[in-house]
Amino acid sequence: MILVELSKLLRRPRTWVTIALLSGLPVIVGIFVKASGLAPRPGEGPALLSEVLNNGLLFPAAALAIILPLFLPIAVSVIGGDTVAGEAANGTLRYLLTRPVGRSRLLAAKLSTIIMFIFLSVVIVALVALVAGVVLFGIRPLSSISATELSPFETFIRTTMAILYIGWSMLGLGAIALFASTRTDSPLAASLATLAAFVGSQVLDLIEATRSIQPFLPTHYWLKFVDFYRDPILWRDVTAGIIVQLVYVAVFLGAAWANFTTKDITS
């Protein structure tokens, strides 16, 4: 069943259009940065973009930093919100369930689809950005944020870790999307509910008054992937980020399961 779901994801034109758009934006930014020679100053603009002019190897991480605040979460919300509600709206949900596919199995397959999409997206975006970065900016030894030098190989390792971390950071949102998707027969409603959770989390993360709950917000640790470029790597926030995502996945996957396995399917 999981293989069937993955093949559906990969055969769907929308998947590739979404990934192409996600990959395209950083490339456009890269071209303009190159053409103008103007990178944001350190501390401004997307993380790490300030360093890119000096080193193309850093461009994959910068590319992910560009799509991380908005485009990637939107894509995850849309794809995740569609998983179950899309089948319901399309009428195919009843035909999958009467095949029969157990409801838990179907849910597991759908979660796999979301995870697959997330990691497929971040890896492709990073690969496209790597090619674009090397072509546009060339390869040089990298100075870490902590001002020591990282070899190209070390940069590659750090970037891989950062990519995986960013993918991991999307899991909580993916689980929220899956839950929303079991609550409605409208994929649009499920996606919007997920986006509302995302925007809500971002807003609460900005306000001084909500400081006490901020460490528990799903988006709080997203930008901490830059800690992978410190020397030595600063693990504290990254670890917290990984754990927070795990908790969100556990809670919302559980809620999705409790809802979906007892639900009357009238679509």
Binding site: G91, R94, T98, R99, P100, R103, D264, T266
Partner: protein, 309 residues
Amino acid sequence: MSVSSVVRTHQLTKRFAGGLLAVDGIDLDVRAGDLFGFLGPNGAGKTTTIRMLLSLISPTSGSIEVLGHEVTLHSPHALEGVGTMVEGPAFYPFLSGERNLMIFDGAGAGGPRRTRRQRVHDVIERVGLTDVGERPVKAYSLGMRQRLGLASALLRAPRLLVLDEPTNGLDAQGIHELRTMFVDLVREGTTIMLSSHLLAEVELICSRAAMMSAGRIVAQDDVRNLLAPSGWVRVVTPDLERAVRALQDGPFLYEPVDPFTVRVNIGDRAPELLNKALVQDDIRVRELVVERPTLEDVFLERTGHGHIR
């Protein structure tokens, strides 16, 4: 349960959140080899019942057995021998008809991958879609989708087919082909449960039928029994006045209909005896027809909305 029961429900009831009592304590009994008509107007509870049989909706109370297995939301395994089409076919429009069936076949348990293409090919051929199997479903006509839905239901050679309004969207030719296919399938040993609001359609092919109205089963029997002669005989004669005079002296209830026709209730006596009596009185009998109810008549009678004609 008897060995030959394919679908059996006991006091099956569904009350939706909000209080609507959609299905009210029904005892369905579909037997092996039946071409079973499941009838009733829209809103009678047919689709809700079918969705409970297919473990899409959980019953409020009562029990369901399909192919000898208890069906609940958490144990849909009985459905492995069941092919379905419920409330119209549905597919992934961006994929071809063939690819859609590959997905549905692959989604179920078992069914070796090696022979999947062959299984899909076979059912597509059976419904006559071989030429268009590779086109994306979004380019299909309504009738083609209906056929593809049937092909999907036929995957894995199910022992029971549960089909909800399968002739929707088909033209006369398509409906005729479908009926022929149903009869063939039953001959091959498949049991078919066919829901429809078109009673005349079912009358033509079904061997047994249940009728639903307002959540209850109002009749469930062999179609032969449901359509048994009503006891009324319609006599057409140019000598109506003399016929009526003769009937006045006889033991039968009668009812003149028009200047040439009279209906006579002969109960379970042989109609030829009436004919003989009329002819002996020198009454010219132009037609003598034994009246049989249609399923619609039976339905109206059982739901109390009709009259006996």
